[in-house]
């Protein structure tokens, strides 16, 4: 399905004409998007527009009815979620999605697990290389936690931490895999003002090195960190371009205002209920 890319090959994801239907609902309708290394792409749109579904297609949780995906210049035929991390793609889930009965350190070590080299046989008899893997994973996890100012909580269980910190751990778990494409599903959900500023800094820093796709409702964040924005409405791309242009695009305003009549509270409540799980 994949092989390590040649240097200089196109480091980018492109989604071409992807269509997904759930029964009668067209969750995605001939959607095309692209993202390159060093770019932060924002995906916005009202609740139910198909943003999470787009991520689910990229991750292989939902098979598209039509359309193709390519990654680093190669077509991806059948994507299987567990292959993503070795392909260089990582994702955070809407909400948190941490392993509740494992420490923060262990959570992040699982994120790095595609670096493991020893198999189950070496683990059973505790060959030194199995321990070496463990040390390697622990070092990687601790380094990533330190980068996100989470080093002090390595031994805590996720449930004992504030929501915002849990989200940062989830981000660490995605980053520790050293992805070349990072998909963030509503990273700002439930964060306060200070935490938003921190998140903005983190995304800007990551976005200089790898490709990032962000689904987000928080317009200020989207407008400040994204190099480009794609707007989905009823499964269609209704606008795409740089943040300033999107902000003043009448179609975008209409899509949002049309929905805003239901009241923004209703909108966020519905969104919170939809855990965004594939």
């Amino acid at each position: 399905m994949e092989s390590r890319e040649l240097p200089g090959a196109a480091h980018r994801l492109s989604v071409e004409d992807v269509t997904v239907s759930f029964g009668g609902i067209r969750a995605l309708d001939r959607v095309s998007v692209e993202v390159s290394t060093g770019e932060v792409l924002g995906v916005i749109g009202p609740n139910g527009a198909g943003k999470t579904t787009l991520f689910n297609v990229i991750c292989g949780f939902v098979a598209p009815d039509a359309g193709t995906l390519s990654w680093r210049g190669k077509t991806l035929h059948r994507i299987r979620p567990h292959r993503l991390s070795s392909l260089g793609i990582a994702r955070t889930l809407q909400g948190v999605g941490l392993f509740g009965r494992m420490t923060v350190l262990e959570n992040v070590m699982v994120g790095a697990q595609h670096f493991r080299r020893a198999g189950i046989a070496s683990a059973m008899v505790a060959l030194p290389r199995s321990d070496k893997d463990e040390r390697d994973l622990r070092d990687r996890a601790l380094a990533t936690l330190a980068e996100l100012d989470c080093a002090g909580i390595a031994d805590r269980l996720p449930g004992t931490l504030p929501f915002a910190v849990q989200k940062r751990v989830a981000l660490a778990r995605a980053l520790v895999a050293e992805p070349e494409l990072l998909l963030l599903d509503e990273p700002a959900g439930g964060l306060g003002a200070d935490e938003l500023t921190e998140l903005r800094g983190v995304i800007e820093r990551i976005g200089r090195e790898i490709a990032v796709m962000v689904v987000e409702h928080h317009m200020d964040l989207v407008m400040s960190v994204c190099d480009r924005v794609v707007v989905l409405d009823f499964g269609r791309v209704i606008a795409a371009g740089d943040p300033a242009a999107i902000k003043s695009d009448p179609r975008v305003l209409e899509a949002y205002l049309g929905r805003e009549a239901e009241g923004p509270e209703a909108l966020t409540a519905a969104e919170a209920g939809n855990a965004g799980r594939p």
Binding site: H82, G97, L98, F99, E106, M109, G111, D131, A174
Partner: protein, 357 residues
């Protein structure tokens, strides 16, 4: 494992820890069995094979979150394998026991594949069907499996270098405990490796685990197969110790007892499996005594163990949801904190309920 004094060199070398466990355990058993009566040695041997099955089951249920009501039948697979190989084919002890584990592991593959597609009550139902259905095979092929009477084999005599008056029961306890220690060694290593962590990740959140690069079904199947091999080894030893593999020993109650032993001992805890094994060895005696002292009818007394298990199980789940071992652990950490060591982080310290200690 909250004691902070473990040197780094030991903490980071799994083999050093698991091997020390095995060596200390082996020495203790070698010494203790010399002092025990034949009857107690026999009970220790029972405990050894129960431990093998319980340890496999507790890793399956506690680490990978899968419930099996079929482990009694997997023990039967191992028991009949070693019975046939030793009794009919004249195999030596060690290869026959390896084969018992191997055949159960092979039977565990389709079971594990099915298990990885089933959840909760469906998984319990499927494994229960296996536990109910398998003993019937002995009746179906009486010429191979000996029907109701089962297979009998000659006792495995102690090797001559142990001396002529080395008790058979002591030798049987050695065999059973050696197998238990092998199971302990392998499972301890697995639990403390990346494999164990992967299993716990899959248990906690399948979607997040697969995004981390873990194949959910493969992890669950591997856990089932390893667990089946442990049960098969336990079953193989059962035949050696009892010189008999008969359908009556592997009725569906055995699977229920095993699961109860794992829950009461402490789900996911290898030490808990020792408590569970002790329970499986001693409870039948206690209930028989109880039945006798109240001079109950045989009808009632036969069902008494099962009833008592039910009551103990419910009581354990209500009062001590993390089992005997979990209870000891929280008692330990309570005492630890009372000694004034409040310097640890203010939130709940990460007490890992699933990692075996």
């Amino acid at each position: 494992m909250s004691a902070p004094a473990i040197p780094r060199a030991v903490r980071e070398r799994t083999l050093l820890r698991s091997l020390s466990l095995v060596i200390v355990g082996g020495l203790l058993i070698a010494l203790i069995t010399g002092a025990l009566s034949s009857y107690r040695n026999l009970q220790l041997a029972y405990g050894g094979y129960y431990f093998a099955a319980l340890a496999g089951l507790t890793v399956l249920a506690g680490l990978s979150g899968q419930i099996s009501l079929g482990h009694g039948a997997l023990m039967a697979v191992g028991a009949y394998t070693s019975g046939l190989l030793i009794g009919n084919e004249g195999w030596a002890l060690v290869p026959a026991l390896v084969a018992a584990a191997g055949v159960s592991a092979i039977i565990g593959i389709p079971l594990g594949l099915a298990a990885s597609r089933l959840r909760g009550p469906y998984l319990a139902g499927a494994t229960l069907a296996f536990a109910v259905g398998l003993p019937a095979l002995a009746d179906k092929f009486p010429s191979t499996f000996g029907g109701e009477n089962g297979l009998t084999i000659n006792p495995s005599m102690p090797p001559s270098w142990l001396g002529s008056n080395f008790a058979l029961e002591r030798w049987e306890a050695w065999i059973a405990c050696a197998c238990a220690l092998i199971v302990l060694f392998v499972l301890y290593n697995l639990v403390h490796s990346g494999v164990g962590r992967s299993l716990r990740a899959v248990r906690d959140d399948e979607i997040a685990a697969s995004l981390c690069g873990l194949h959910v079904g493969r992890n669950q199947t591997v856990a089932f197969v390893v667990s089946a091999a442990c049960a098969g080894l336990g079953g193989g030893v059962f035949t050696v110790v009892n010189q008999l593999a008969a359908p009556g020993s592997f009725q569906v109650q055995l699977s229920l007892y095993l699961l109860a032993g794992v829950v009461i001992g402490g789900l996911g805890s290898l030490v808990g499996a020792i408590w569970g094994a002790a329970l499986l060895v001693f409870l039948p005696n206690w209930t028989t005594d109880l039945a006798n002292s109240f001079s109950l009818s045989t009808n009632v007394s036969h069902n008494l163990p099962l009833a008592i298990y039910g009551v103990v199980l419910i009581a354990a789940m209500l009062l001590w949801p993390s089992g005997i071992q979990g209870g000891f652990r929280s008692l330990g950490s309570w005492l630890w904190h009372r000694r004034g060591r409040r310097s640890r982080s203010p939130g709940a310290p990460a007490d890992r309920p699933s990692a075996a200690s």
